[in-house]
Symmetry: C2
């Protein structure tokens, strides 16, 4: 049993966070889901969803970290307190998963430096500008480099989450989860229909 700590902030993209939450939530004997924000309290997504969260300080920081993207990242990349706290959590986490422009936040912690990563393709230029020494993949549904899993835009986070579960819990488990939620899983991390090149 391990914690999955899902980082939320005002202007997070709903599906970036909650697509993977749906998937990990199907393995309740393996993962405990926590919805967290820097100060706790209610957080509003870009789709007007109000979610109650617990503060970073209150969680078990040895859990897996999931970082969504969204319009809120545009401001947060320049929020040194947030980035510093995110770096502390990411350093302790056994795995860090990002979706969409969540990779821009992680890049700002410098933990992706020299590593392969991807991000969404619509905002690729902006996102990748947050980590000039990251090896950004222009064609990838998701990328794994050590403990870092980074995915392409929004929906790609679900494919990555299943890919992570396949790596950690076994492919049969991932296939069963996808089937249980009737999800047509794009199993190939290299199959990126939205690639820039």
């Amino acid at each position: 049993m391990i914690d999955l700590n899902i980082v939320l902030f005002d202007g997070f993209e709903t599906l970036d966070a909650l697509g993977p939450a749906e998937i990990f939530g199907k393995l309740q004997d393996e993962y405990t889901l926590n919805y967290i924000s820097i100060n706790g309290g209610s957080i509003i997504s870009s789709q007007q969803l109000s979610v109650n969260t617990v503060a970073f300080a209150e969680i078990d920081d040895t859990g897996i970290l999931l970082i969504p993207g969204g319009i809120g990242t545009r401001k947060l990349v320049n929020d040194s307190e947030f980035i510093s706290e995110l770096k502390r959590l990411a350093n302790k986490a056994p795995y860090v998963l990002t979706v969409c422009t969540g990779s821009a936040l992680l890049a700002r912690t410098d933990l992706l430096s020299g590593k392969r990563a991807t991000t969404n393709k619509v905002a690729f230029e902006w996102a990748s500008s947050n980590g000039l020494d990251v090896k950004w993949a222009k064609k990838a549904r998701w990328v794994v480099d050590g403990k870092y899993y980074t995915s392409s835009g929004v929906s790609a986070g679900m494919d990555m989450a299943l890919g992570f579960i396949s790596d950690i819990n076994g492919n049969e488990t991932a296939v069963a989860v996808a089937r249980g939620i009737e999800y047509i899983w794009n199993t190939d991390a290299r199959n990126d229909p939205f690639a820039l090149e």
Copy 2:
């Protein structure tokens, strides 16, 4: 501009509600998203997500209604007050969309009687038992009958939401939304990889 009223209840399936919310939320000039529950307040999903909602009584009941499924439906199908309130909203709504076992709740209002509908395939027997005079489709990603859109399990709700947008707002709009969230849209309502037959 029209309201999309998303019905939440304890034990709703996260992605049933929030996959479509992601999609409709991309058309902020067309749809206003409201997260509602019978009495308002915080509601907990099956994936431990705590969402703040407004009460049924407080909303504009002429909006489109979206009804997710989830384990919470097992109890609610026998909650006559809830079903009665749901029927009131569904009667007024110009369109009613259900995802997964959300169709079991709608079937209990009798509004699906004699109509074609679908539901998820894993819990097909239970869900369909809630509407013996509904023409349940065993093979369909989603089904449209008049103002009622019913989808198969969990992830199928996203394909249906895009199908609805294609019908109402035009196919180009739906394609653009899918592309914006890098979603590999299963555009064919008849293409159901999880069909029972």
